[in-house]
């Protein structure tokens, strides 16, 4: 097992009174794609800047391929940083834009030729190598810029929201491309984004940063299914997870969850995760784990009044008033019912998450 390409060891950063990063630990293995996910102000860019050497940590160290690089200058670290606003040389054609780092490094001409064409093939931009940037589309510009950054073969790449200024359709195309490229070249990416869908689509591993702290490091689907706390659960998923106050009651060996005046039986396999001392909880219920059932059915768990319908094409989001608590859930396609209708729903109880109402930590 080789050394990790990058290690952040107990990195903290203060800007005056404000603690931007608090004891951040992260290990990045060779050839992996790690995404830093967090809202604006969470510390993503500060983390990348510290790794790049543009900012010194207040405490902690940066190890690159097993060696301490904390005090090294940016240009000694051999890292490429890719931002959102990528500038191209307007007077150079596509080929020369991509080739420019190799020209500076005085790479032999035939090697430049070979590597630029290889890169252009991978990025599917062979057709614009002879053209100047003024004639490129947004996606072509971004690809040329990526090609220029990647031709150098640095130790690893830091990408700070590189797709955020592109329009939506291009963004989802390019992220698929980016992941394919990373796979095919075996490069290492540390990628920052506030968009959980982008994070999940790209990442081998997602590192969630909230308020300067690492909250969770997990595989994409695990982050969604097994969040460590309420904040992570809310940040990942749209419509967001429903967090509903509930009570646990025990009666002759059966365990029930009560929401308002409604009571649902807890599946036996979930009971052991709940300490017997726990009575007040918050349940986390994902919008796709609720379905409408016929009135009179014996699998009704909750009953509410429809108070919102949001058609979104593939899905419709339904808002339900459960005795004063709002529940949002998704159903396929377009729905026929209306605001004010009474609706009975079934809850996939085995998918319920339980949170401590005080700390927000996940109980089970």
């Amino acid at each position: 097992m080789s050394e990790p390409v990058l290690e952040l060891r107990s990195i903290s950063k203060n800007f005056g009174e404000n603690q931007a990063l608090d004891d951040v630990n992260l290990t990045v293995e060779h050839g992996s794609l790690i995404v830093l996910l967090g809202p604006a102000g969470a510390g993503k860019t500060t983390t990348l800047r510290i790794v790049a050497g543009l900012e010194a940590p207040s405490s902690g160290s940066i190890f690159i391929e097993g060696a301490d690089f904390t005090k090294h200058q940016p240009n000694q670290r051999d890292i490429a940083m890719i931002f959102d606003n990528l500038a191209l040389y307007p007077n150079k054609n596509g080929f020369e834009n991509i080739a420019s780092p190799l020209r500076i490094a005085k790479t032999p001409k035939d090697e430049i030729d070979r590597r630029v064409h290889e890169m252009a093939g991978m990025l599917k931009i062979d057709h614009i190598l002879e053209r100047t940037p003024a004639t490129f589309s947004g996606g072509e510009r971004q690809r040329v810029a990526l090609g220029r950054a990647m031709i150098r073969q640095p130790r690893f790449y830091l990408l700070d929201e590189p797709l955020s200024s592109l329009d939506f359709m291009l963004r989802i195309d390019l992220r698929t491309e980016l992941k394919r490229l990373q796979r095919e070249t075996g490069q290492t990416f540390l990628f920052a984004t506030p968009d959980y869908t982008e994070a999940m689509a790209l990442a081998d591993t997602v590192c969630v940063l909230l308020d300067g702290k690492v909250r969770q490091i997990a595989k994409a689907q695990e982050l969604y299914d097994e969040p460590v706390d309420r904040d992570v659960a809310r940040f990942v998923g749209n419509p967001p997870i429903n967090i509903i106050p509930a009570r646990i009651t025990r009666d002759n060996g059966t365990v029930n969850i009560s929401v308002g005046s409604m009571t649902m039986p807890l599946p036996a396999k979930m009971e052991h995760g709940l300490p017997s001392s726990v009575s007040n909880v918050e349940i986390g219920l994902r919008p796709e784990h609720v379905r409408i059932v016929e009135s009179g059915s014996d699998v009704i768990h909750l009953t509410g009044i429809v108070n919102d319908l949001e058609p979104l094409g593939m899905h419709t989001t339904v808002g339900l008033d459960l005795e004063g608590v709002n529940l949002f859930f998704t159903v396929e396609g377009v729905q026929e019912f209306k605001d004010g209708d009474k609706v009975d729903v079934h809850v996939d109880l085995e998918s319920l998450l339980f949170f401590d109402p005080e700390t927000g930590r996940r109980i089970t």
Binding site: D167, M169, Y224, N238, R286, E288, D308
Partner: protein, 368 residues
Amino acid sequence: MAKIKLELVKLCKEFGELNAVDDVSIAIEESETMALLGPSGCGKTTILNMIVGLEKPTSGEILIDGKSVLNVPPGQRNVGLVFQDYAVFTHMTVRQNLAYGLKLRKMKQPEIDREIYKVSEFLSLGHQLDRKPSELGASELQRVAIGRTLVTNPEILLLDEPLSNLEASMRNQMRRELRRIQGETGQTIIYVTHDQIEALSLAHQIAVMNLGALQQYDTARNVYEYPANRFVGSFLGNPPMNFIRGKLAEDSGQRVVSSGESTMPLPAGIIGADMTIGSDVVVGVRPESLNLAAADNPGRFTSEVLAVEPQGPETVVTAAFGDSSFKVIVPAGTDAEAGGAITLAPQSDLVALFDAETGVRLMNSGGA
């Protein structure tokens, strides 16, 4: 049939050589929300400006309640415009902001108080009336901006990208708020946006614009399920509609589209009588209209998986078709891996053929 509130008739606007708005005709019923949806530069803001009176059409007609407003000056058309950047007076309190339009109309103070009370209760701004905008959050500011316009009781409320300055988490809430306002006031609303989610979630009718021309004007559902052309199909949906290019062929009695080694069976109903084997076709199918298929499904086809992107409840799989690729949405936990294979079947009522050259939808299958 409800009454037509606003009608645009063959509306054109030229800026020099540029046809910013090219022959657009749209009728909007009273109490409806109509979304003008399109990318930047498609002409939607120019249309808005012509309705308000900030621009004069090169030709065409704008009718409100059946009467032309072309010669009515901007301030007197009784249409209320809310911009994306709030346009709230920062030196005035919320109350003064809300009162502003009414004072201009020389309304008496007791009446102004009554109207402000009504609108502030309705927009949950009751506790904020004596605050300055600098003390308010983004969604409250947005409500003040809407309230300022709503209080003047306009015939038509025009909203220009009203949510684009809000964070993602705030948008869900604000969309819900806008649906409630529309439902309770019965206000006729024109909603300008480049965001398909906002258009689908707020509008009864959607007018999709591109390059100054109206691409489709229909109910939100029809625009999504039965796009009139490739532009509309690719502008709505996440991921958008797939357009699979190939040649019409026959495989053991069944019509298929084929490209390289790949074939996809086509539902019988969508192929026109005049289409011959070997002709170029483009098949439009949404990523959610392709389902995982069992090995004995006669409509199945198999593709190589190129990428797998988990999204929470669902996973987006990119799969190969000839030299190109398409996306399909499968449930989370589906066994799919880059380099492996996936077996799918198209949901027959939501597959359509598009003209390979013009991009226009060929068959009017279903609702449209």
